[in-house]
Symmetry: C2
Subunit: 137 residues, 2 copies
């Protein structure tokens, strides 16, 4: 089993950052991190087109391991972003789908993806220039 990242170093971030809504700083940070999690984002966006089965998800996301899929699904389910429906059949069939909440998150994430797409070239260019300038130094 893997320890939940929410149990990280209690001492450090006890005080919420003053820039965000302070009351919920802790949870909000966790949510932001979830949204920044590669696998979580990929799973959610894979479910955009409709419900999918475990194996379908596994194969629709290149590089995703069973371990991480299971872990990610667990997290997302815990947050109420997706639902799990198991049919008592043989062989077993389990279907995952976005909840309404999950859908709204997807929309928010899409904003970011759009931003990334829009500024992709600019950033790529910045990096190249930065690295070049650094190499001279």
């Amino acid at each position: 089993m893997e320890s939940d990242p929410s149990i990280r170093q209690a001492g450090a971030l006890s005080g919420p950052c003053s820039r965000w809504p302070a009351e919920h700083g802790e949870t909000i940070r966790q949510i932001i991190e979830r949204a920044g999690n590669k696998w979580a984002v990929l799973v959610v966006s894979s479910l955009q087109g409709g419900p999918l089965r475990y194996t379908d998800l596994l194969h629709s996301i290149p590089g995703l391991s069973q371990r991480m899929l299971t872990h990610t699904l667990h997290q997302l389910r815990r947050d109420g972003l997706i639902t799990r429906t198991a049919y008592p059949e043989v062989p077993p069939r389990v279907v995952y789908a976005l909840t309404d909440l999950g859908t709204t998150l997807l929309i928010a994430i899409t904003t970011l993806i759009d931003w990334a797409g829009t500024h992709h070239d600019e950033i790529q260019d910045n990096r190249t220039r930065f690295d070049t300038a650094e190499a001279i130094t």
Copy 2:
């Protein structure tokens, strides 16, 4: 469409996810991860109010170590999200500020933060319920 070539590469994640604009998958993933990086988000949002010096940043973000601040500033600067201005004085004075690009990212990120703020309670509730149900099982 069945894609089942030998997917055994580790870490690399060579194949972009089909759900996003494929051409830029690599970079976009990195950008998303940057946006999900705790320190990067905090630094950027700390600069929202205007330029700040190294030490100011260090003190305005609880839990942030010198190492991580330096590292994060380096990253953000490389992407062209912030600028660094050093004044040749004694003692040295260095000021960091958001670029226009950085400002647009902040706006995109703010969307996410707002989402997090809006659904904070709902998620908290979901988690509690999920953990409770699990404990019974």
